[in-house]
Symmetry: C2
């Protein structure tokens, strides 16, 4: 069975698609063909989109699934005349919120990812620049960092730092544990001074070897022996230094980021 | 009026918070205090969380707003005994989907941002590495790039490339237009050869000067005269080269990314 799924929004449709994905994963046996349509902000654009929905319904000989985030009532209404099944991420919830808060909503289109607040936009950019200039041990000056990820190569430090910068405005540095650190079982002074900001990333040796193998096939770096040694040495170094760790094996970047922030007790609002 | 809002999930709660934010922006006159609680995956953890919700209700002397994404029925049920107003992002939609698809859902916890597919995880990481090694004109070899952003300094190229890498697995390079490019009104050969992959980022000169001023106060780089000259020269260069542009003034990173992908007709599924 083939079903077409539409993610439609007056904004970027990114929130819509993200929520849609998490719902669709509950139906692993259905083959979904997915189409994201952002910036549908007028009844005219809605009408064009409805044509595509109806066409998909005919081609699949089954109703298309339509995840909808449209604020304007007139634009939204157009979709209710389509042949698709509508999952409206706004209408019901806005009604519930209006009732609970006792105030009327103020329809503003596409605010989910708009620059409502330019200061916050600049925070994200600044945090991203920070992550880039403190990636991979480039700079060991951690005075302005919110947190520091340490770990051996290929534990997910860089993407996690960039993700936290982009989505939480967190200034995250990262430091790769070197052979010297692992052998001496001692962290550089700049890190020891900032222990309270550090979270260690750990990974299973088997998974590590697999990841490194795709990067440098047949290398000593990717060998099971080397990976086991590094993982064991990192574990004992971080334990004796009293640094909390997060395991990254089988975790997504979002999960790692979420666990790191929880570990440090950081309640940052998302961008 | 102060209201406490909870974003609660059995996964990272990132999707939950993102959707919650977009709904709350419709009520700009209410002061929300926001709390994200991830990884609530048992009735015991749910009970602890309900205590926090009830406490917030008492402190605010008003019902807390609870955005909920919990798949397990027993865990979810605990929240319906709280004093908060529940906005359940799963229950209703899953029922609608089950009905529309004619198959039962398979409850799997926290799949929204899990590593369902390790190959896709590696795509994200690889794309992130690509963005880093092709940032800011570091490398002009674009054979393997999916797209190239060009623009003058501070138009949002780097964060947009990193965002697209992390969320769409897109290999995005970026190239900063140099004084030489702008004066000669000619792009480097490596770019001209890859014209079909390029999108230009443009910005208003006033906004550009404001952004540059916070970075390098009082500099020639941040002066209105310099910003106007660069913006005009970039516009004419890109126009004569036949390169489509996206305006980044007052746009979020998500909006820029979304418009760039739409421009190139790329239908990438989100991670």
């Amino acid at each position: 069975m083939q079903r077409t799924v539409f993610f439609i929004s007056d904004g970027t449709a990114i929130t819509t698609e993200t929520l849609g994905h998490s719902l669709l994963t509950q139906f692993p046996n259905v083959a979904f063909s997915q189409i994201r349509i952002p910036f549908v902000d007028s009844p005219e654009k809605a009408a064009e989109t409805v044509s595509r929905i109806n066409q998909a319904c005919e081609e699949n000989d089954a109703a298309a699934i339509v995840f909808l985030s449209i604020i304007d009532d007139d634009t939204r209404a157009v979709f209710y005349r389509s042949k698709g099944v509508i999952l409206d991420l706004f209408a019901d919830f806005i009604d519930t919120l209006e009732f609970a808060l006792g105030v009327a909503p103020q329809a503003t289109v596409g605010q989910a990812h708009g620059v409502a607040d330019e200061a916050r936009y600049e925070d994200r950019i600044e945090a991203t620049n920070y992550a880039l200039s403190h990636d991979d041990g480039i700079s060991l000056s951690y005075e302005n960092s919110d947190l520091i990820l340490v770990g051996i190569s290929r534990t997910g430090k860089t993407p996690t730092c960039l993700y936290m910068a982009l989505h939480f405005g967190v200034k995250a540095a990262n430091y790769p544990l070197t052979g010297h650190d692992l052998e001496s079982q001692r962290l550089p002074e700049q890190l020891r001074r900032n222990k309270h900001k550090i979270v260690g990333l750990m990974i299973d040796a088997d998974r590590l070897a697999q990841i490194r193998e795709t990067r440098k096939p047949g290398s000593r770096y990717a060998s099971m022996k080397q990976c086991h040694w590094e993982v064991d040495a990192a574990e004992s170094l971080l334990r004796s230094a009293g640094i909390a760790t997060v395991h990254t094996t089988h975790s997504s970047i979002e999960e790692i980021a979420s666990r790191v922030l929880a570990h440090l007790g950081m309640q940052r609002e998302m961008y």
